[in-house]
C-alpha cells in the first residue's frame, strides 16, 4: 500500500470513528448515514519526470460532522499518520464555515504527494477496496471517489443504502447481495434470481486479551461474532454449485471498520495460514489451502484471508475451478456491552487489533474455534441440503426422461411417435431424447429459481427504489431491495453486540499506540499534508512494506497485457496530455455491483457499446475528447512512449471493469 492509499484509508477510518462517536451520543445502534467525497487530481509533475503531482481531497458532501473542530482533528490525524509531513494552509472559506451559526462545519482536507502513475493506480485500487469493504457493513455511507489524471476524470460512487442487509444491531449491517462477494458473469443469467447470501450468525464469544497485549493498552472486554454464508445462495439450483470451491474471511473491528491486513506476513495473518486452526474442514470432506492470489482489480470486496479447496488427491484442475460456491466468513470483533469508548481510544483499539489480532485469537482459540465452527457447519449444512435436493432432482429427471424415452421408442404407434417428434421439433429419436432432457432440466430449474426469487421479491415489497437509477437494473434483477432486518433475511437470530466501549488509561495512548505527533502541522481552513515516505505510514520496515505492496499489486499475464497494449496504443493520442475537462459520462454494468452510479470521464470510443454511446450523446455537457500534447511538452521518443503507456495503463485501471 502506498502513501496516498494509506493516508486516505487512515483518514477515512479516523473520520468514521469520529462520526460513530458523535452518532453514538444520539443513537447507539443507528447506522451511519451520509456522504464523503474523495478526489485525487493528478497532473504531470513539472519538476520530476515520469511522476504525477497528486492532490488528494477528502471532504464531506453534507453537514455530517457536527462539532468537528478542525484544529483538534488535524492534530489527531497527524498523530495517527506517523511519518507524515504536512503543509498547511488556510483558505478564506474556512472563516465562513467556522462562523456558521448552526455550528455545523463541513470540512475539506487536502494533501499532496508525488507518485509514479503505477503507484497511483495501485493506490486507487486499494482505496476502492477499502471503500467496498466499509460499505459492506456500513451500507448507508456513500463514498464519491474520483480520480482525475491530466484532466481525465474517472468517478465512482460506493454505497449500498438501498440494498438488503442483515442488521447486527451495533450500528453495522451486513449487505447480503451476493454481487459484492462473487463475480456474477461466471454464473448464468438464470442463476441470478436469488441474489442474496443468508448469513448464519455464530454465538458471540468473549476474547481473552493476552497480558503483553493488555500492557500495550488494549484493555477491556472484546467479543467476536462470526457470521458464515454461502455465496451464491445455495438454494439456487445449478450443476455449478455442487461443491465448495473457496472460502473468504473478512475481518472487521469495532464500528465496522476493516481490520486491514497490510502485509500477509504480519502476525495477524499468520494464524490464518493454518487453514484448520479455527475450522475443521475435514468433517465436511474439504481440504483447504491458503490462496495468496489477492487481485485488487476486481469489483468485489477483497477478503482478508482466502482459502481454496484442494481435492484430497491434489487435483490441480479442481483447485483453480472458480465454478463453485464460496464460503464467506465474517469475523466481527467489537466491544462487550457497557464499555465506554472515546474516539482516540477506539482508534487505538483498531490499531492494536490490526497488529495483535492473531495473539488475541490464539489466546481464545478454543472458544473462537467453537463459535466459528458452529456458524460454518450451519452454513455448509445449507450447501449439503442444496446438493442433496439437486441430486434428487437430477436423479428423478433422469428416471422421468428414460421412462418417456422407453415408451416413445417402444411404441408401435407411428402417429404417437410422429406427434412426439413434432411437438419437440426433433428430427429423430436421438434428437428427441436430447431435447427432452434439456427441456426438463431448464424448465424445472427455472421453476426452482422462480420459487427462490419470489422470496426475494416478497422481501423487497415496500422498499424504495434506487434513486441513482441510471444503473441497468433490468440486467441484474432488483437492485433496489430495501434494508431488511435479520429476521427478514433468514429468520435467524439477530446479533446484539451492545454498546461499544473502550477504556484506556489517560496519557498512555501515544506510547502504547506508537504514534508520534509532527510539530509542523499547523491549523488552517485548508489543510495540506505531504506524505514523506509511504512506508513509514505502514509502521513497517522497508522490505516488509515492499512485500506488502507487492502482494497488493495487481498482476496480469502476458496475454492480457499484450491485448491491452494493443487496445491502448490505439488511444494513446487521446490519452496523452489531454488538457481539457473531459466529461464523457457513461454507465457500466460493473457499477451496479456496488449499487452505485458511476460517471466515467474517459473511455476509448471503440470500447463504447451502442447504448453507452447513446448515453454519451445524450449528455449535453460532454466535451469531445480532444487530443492535445501541448501540456506535456516535447519528450524523447522512447521515454515519451513509456510515459504515455503508463498514463494509458492508469486510465484503463481507473476505469472500473475496463480491464475485464
Amino acid at each position: 500500500m502506498e502513501g496516498t492509499a494509506v493516508a486516505v484509508c487512515e483518514i477515512l477510518k479516523y473520520l468514521i470513528i469520529h462520526w460513530r462517536c458523535e452518532t453514538a451520543r444520539i443513537s447507539k445502534g443507528a447506522l451511519l448515514e451520509g456522504e464523503l467525497v474523495i478526489s485525487i487530481e493528478a497532473l504531470n509533475s513539472k519538476h520530476q519526470a515520469n511522476t504525477l503531482h497528486c492532490v488528494t481531497t477528502i471532504a464531506s458532501a453534507g453537514s455530517i460532522f457536527g462539532g468537528l473542530v478542525l484544529k483538534k482533528i488535524l492534530k489527531e490525524i497527524q498523530s495517527i499518520l506517523p511519518g507524515l509531513s504536512a503543509e498547511l494552509s488556510w483558505t478564506s472559506e474556512e472563516t465562513s464555515y467556522s462562523q456558521d451559526v448552526s455550528g455545523v462545519t463541513p470540512f475539506q482536507m487536502i494533501f499532496e504527494v508525488h507518485e509514479k502513475p503505477r503507484t497511483l493506480m495501485t493506490d486507487s485500487l486499494v482505496i476502492k477496496n477499502f471503500l467496498r469493504k466499509v460499505i459492506t457493513v456500513l451500507p448507508k455511507i456513500r463514498f464519491n471517489f474520483s480520480v482525475k489524471v491530466n484532466g481525465i476524470l474517472s468517478m465512482e460512487i460506493f454505497g449500498a443504502e438501498n440494498e438488503p442487509t442483515l442488521n447486527l444491531s451495533n450500528g453495522i449491517a451486513l449487505v447480503v447481495n451476493h454481487q459484492h462477494y462473487v463475480s456474477t458473469p461466471k454464473f448464468g443469467a438464470t442463476e441470478l434470481l436469488c441474489s442474496r447470501i443468508h448469513p448464519v450468525l455464530g454465538h458471540p464469544v468473549m476474547l481473552f486479551i493476552p497480558d503483553d497485549v493488555a500492557k500495550m493498552g488494549l484493555l477491556g472486554e472484546l467479543i467476536l461474532t462470526p457470521a458464515a454464508a454461502l455465496c451464491p445462495c445455495p438454494k439456487v439450483f445449478s450443476n455449478q454449485l455442487n461443491r465448495i470451491s473457496s472460502a473468504s474471511i473478512f475481518l472487521y473491528g469495532p464500528s465496522g471498520l476493516p481490520l486491514i491486513l497490510l502485509n500477509p506476513e504480519q502476525p495477524t495473518s499468520t494464524i490464518f495460514k493454518d487453514t484448520s486452526y479455527f475450522i475443521n474442514w475435514k468433517k465436511h470432506h474439504l481440504c483447504m489451502v491458503p490462496n495468496l492470489d489477492f487481485n485488487l482489480d476486481r469489483d468485489l470486496v477483497l477478503p482478508d484471508v482466502s482459502y481454496q479447496v484442494e481435492s484430497s488427491e491434489g487435483d490441480q484442475t479442481q483447485n483453480m475451478d472458480p465454478q463453485g460456491q464460496t464460503l464467506l466468513l465474517f469475523l466481527f470483533v467489537d466491544f462487550h456491552s457497557g464499555f465506554p469508548v472515546q474516539k482516540m481510544e477506539l482508534w487505538g483499539v483498531h490499531t492494536l487489533l490490526t497488529t495483535h489480532l492473531s495473539a488475541i485469537l490464539t489466546e481464545s482459540h478454543s472458544v473462537v474455534q467453537d463459535s466459528i465452527q458452529v456458524a460454518v457447519d450451519q452454513a455448509l449444512e445449507q450447501h449439503h441440503h442444496a446438493v442433496k435436493a439437486h441430486q434428487k432432482l437430477q436423479a428423478s429427471l433422469s428416471v422421468a426422461v428414460n421412462s418417456i424415452m422407453s415408451i416413445m421408442t417402444g411404441s408401435t404407434s407411428s402417429s404417437f411417435r410422429k406427434t412426439c417428434l413434432q411437438t419437440l421439433q426433433a428430427a429423430d429419436t436421438q434428437e428427441f431424447g436430447t431435447k427432452l432432457h434439456k427441456s426438463f432440466h431448464e424448465i424445472t430449474q427455472n421453476r426452482f429459481l422462480h420459487h427462490c426469487s419470489r422470496e426475494v421479491k416478497q422481501a423487497a415489497e415496500g422498499g424504495s427504489s434506487l434513486t441513482t437509477g441510471v444503473c441497468s437494473s433490468q440486467e441484474f434483477g432488483s437492485p433496489s431491495e430495501p434494508n431488511v432486518s435479520s429476521e427478514q433475511v433468514d429468520g435467524r437470530k439477530c446479533l446484539s453486540m451492545g454498546p461499544a466501549g473502550w477504556r484506556q488509561e489517560p496519557g498512555s495512548r501515544c506510547a502504547s499506540l506508537g504514534l508520534r505527533t509532527c510539530g509542523s502541522i499547523g491549523v488552517g481552513p485548508w489543510l495540506a499534508l505531504r506524505v514523506a515516505d509511504p512506508r513509514l505510514l505502514l509502521g513497517l520496515p522497508g522490505p516488509e512494506a515492499e512485500a506488502g505492496v507487492q502482494q497488493l499489486l495487481p498482476e496480469k499475464n502476458n496475454a492480457e497485457q499484450s491485448t491491452e497494449d494493443a487496445h491502448e496504443n490505439s488511444s494513446l493520442e487521446l490519452l496523452a496530455g489531454t488538457s481539457g475537462q473531459v466529461e464523457n459520462k457513461s454507465l457500466k454494468r460493473g457499477s451496479l455491483r456496488q449499487g452505485v452510479e458511476e460517471t466515467r470521464a474517459f473511455r476509448s470510443p471503440r470500447a463504447l457499446n451502442p447504448s453507452e454511446a447513446a448515453l454519451g450523446r445524450a449528455e449535453p455537457t460532454a466535451a469531445p475528447l480532444t487530443p492535445s500534447r501541448n501540456r506535456t511538452g516535447p519528450r524523447s521518443g522512447l521515454e515519451d512512449a513509456l510515459w504515455l503507456q503508463e498514463i494509458s495503463n492508469l486510465s484503463e485501471w481507473l476505469s472500473p471493469g475496463s480491464a475485464s
Binding site: 436423479a395 428416471v399 404407434s413 424448465i443
Partner: protein, 395 residues
C-alpha cells in the same frame, strides 16, 4: 360326480333361503346389478393409448415451456367419496384433484416414479405379460424405497387412467384362502376344487377364472387365518355343507375382494362375515361390504353391499355371558378407530351396526373370536355359527 359331504337337514337353511330370496328380490327391485357394476376391462390398445396420451401431454407442456404435472383424483379425502347403499363407497364424478409436479422438490420423485411405472405397464401390456406389484418393486427396490410407494403409485395410475388394475397387467400377490363347495377353472386351464381338506389360495387372476360351480347356501368370510384354520379343522365346511369359506388374512387384498365380488355376482348367495368384536374387525368387514377410500375409484368391481355381519357381535358378549376376563379393554387407538367408523357415511343406513358399535363404545371392551373358546373349544363351529345361520343371527 364327486361325493357330496353330508350337511344339515334342508330345514336348517330355511332362514338362509329366505334371506337369499330377499336379496334377490332387492336386486330385482333395484334393476339388477348396480350401475357400473362389473365394469368391463379396458383392452390393451385402450391402455396403451391412454399411456401415450399421458406422455403427449407431458411433451406438450415441455414444448410450451411449462413444467409437466400429473393431475390425480384426490383419493385420500372423504369429500371425494360418495356412499350409495347399492355400491358402497365410490368416488364422486367431479372430485378434487391433486397435482404431482415435476418442478417441486417434494413431488419430483413421485412424478418420475409414476413415469417409470407407466413405462413398465406399457411394456407389460405390449407383451401381454403380467407382473405383481412385488415384481415391480423388485425391479429397482432402491429407487422405489418400499412396497407401499409402488402400491400407491399403481393405484394412482389406475385412478388417473380410469383403468382397473387388472387391465394394467399388474397383479396383486394373493394372500387369501378359499375352502368349501366351489370348483372353477383358472385362466391357464387348471381345474380347482376347493372342497379338499386344505384351503386353496385365492387365484391371482380372478377375471381369468371360469366355470365356477357351487351349491353353497352361503359364503362365510372369516377375518383371521387362525379362525379360518380352526373352522377347517373342525370340518365346518362339511358340517355346514354346502358352503364356502374365504379369509383375507386380515385386511383383504384386491384378489380376495375380487373373488368375493365375483362369487356374489355369479351366485347371489348370502355372504356373512365373522370378525373380531373390535373396531379393526368392523373396518375389515366394511372393506368387503362398502370398499375402502383408497380403492373407491374401483368400488363397482370390489364392493358387495349384500354382506351381513354374522359375528362376533358386541351384544353377543353379554348375551353369551362371556367372562370379562377374556375381554380386552379398548385402547386409545381403538377408540379413535371406532369414532372414525361411526362417522362413516354408510353407518347411517346401518342402525343395528351403530347399536353394536355403541355397545362396544359403552363397555370400552373388545373381544376376539377366540373368546368363544372359553365356553368350549369347538363352541364356534359347533354351536355359535350353526345357531346364527339357522336362526338368522346376522345384521
Amino acid at each position: 360326480m364327486a361325493f357330496a359331504p353330508r350337511g344339515p337337514e334342508a330345514s336348517f337353511f330355511q332362514v338362509l333361503d329366505q334371506h337369499r330370496a330377499s336379496l334377490l328380490a332387492a336386486l330385482r327391485k333395484g334393476g339388477g346389478e348396480p350401475a357400473g357394476g362389473g365394469t368391463r376391462l379396458a383392452t390393451s390398445s385402450e391402455v396403451l393409448a391412454a399411456i401415450e396420451n399421458v406422455i403427449q401431454d407431458i411433451i406438450t407442456s415441455l414444448a410450451r415451456n411449462e413444467a409437466p404435472a400429473f393431475t390425480i383424483d384426490n383419493r385420500s379425502s372423504w369429500e371425494n367419496i360418495k356412499f350409495e347403499d347399492s355400491v358402497g363407497l365410490h368416488m364422486v364424478s367431479h372430485c378434487t384433484t391433486r397435482k404431482i409436479k415435476s418442478d417441486s422438490p417434494k413431488s419430483v420423485k413421485t412424478f418420475a416414479l409414476i413415469l417409470k411405472i407407466l413405462s413398465m405397464i406399457y411394456k407389460l401390456v405390449q407383451s401381454n405379460t403380467y407382473a405383481t406389484k412385488r415384481d415391480i418393486y423388485y425391479t429397482d427396490s432402491q429407487l422405489f424405497g418400499n412396497q407401499t410407494v409402488v402400491d400407491n403409485i399403481i393405484n394412482d395410475i389406475s385412478c388417473m387412467l380410469k383403468v382397473p388394475r387388472r387391465s394394467l397387467h399388474i397383479l396383486s400377490t394373493s394372500k387369501g384362502l378359499i375352502a368349501g363347495d366351489l370348483r372353477y377353472i383358472e385362466e391357464d386351464g387348471t381345474k380347482v376344487n376347493c372342497a379338499c381338506a386344505t384351503a386353496v389360495a385365492v387365484p391371482s387372476n380372478i377375471q381369468g377364472i371360469q366355470n365356477l360351480i357351487t351349491d353353497a347356501k352361503f359364503l362365510l368370510i372369516v377375518e383371521k387365518d387362525a379362525t379360518f384354520q380352526r373352522l377347517l379343522d373342525d370340518s365346518f365346511c362339511t358340517k355346514m355343507s354346502p358352503c364356502i369359506m374365504v379369509t383375507g388374512k386380515g385386511a383383504p387384498d384386491l384378489n380376495t375382494r375380487l373373488l368375493v365380488k365375483k362369487l356374489w355376482d355369479t351366485f347371489h348367495i348370502p355372504i356373512f362375515t365373522l370378525v373380531d368384536a373390535d373396531p379393526h374387525g368392523i373396518e375389515i368387514m366394511c372393506i368387503y361390504k362398502y370398499g375402502s377410500m383408497a380403492m373407491s375409484f374401483e368400488a363397482h368391481n370390489l364392493t358387495v353391499p349384500a354382506i351381513r355381519w354374522l359375528g362376533l357381535l358386541p351384544s353377543d358378549i353379554k348375551r353369551l355371558n362371556i367372562p370379562k376376563g377374556t375381554l380386552i379393554p379398548l385402547t386409545k387407538q381403538d377408540q379413535m378407530k371406532l369414532d372414525s367408523v361411526l362417522k362413516r357415511p354408510y353407518i347411517t343406513c346401518q342402525p343395528f351396526w351403530r347399536k353394536e358399535m355403541e355397545i362396544m363404545a359403552d363397555s370400552k371392551m373388545k373381544a376376539e373370536i377366540q373368546a368363544l373358546t372359553f365356553l368350549s373349544s369347538d363352541y364356534l363351529s359347533r354351536v355359535y355359527l350353526p345357531n346364527k345361520l339357522k336362526f338368522g343371527g346376522w345384521i
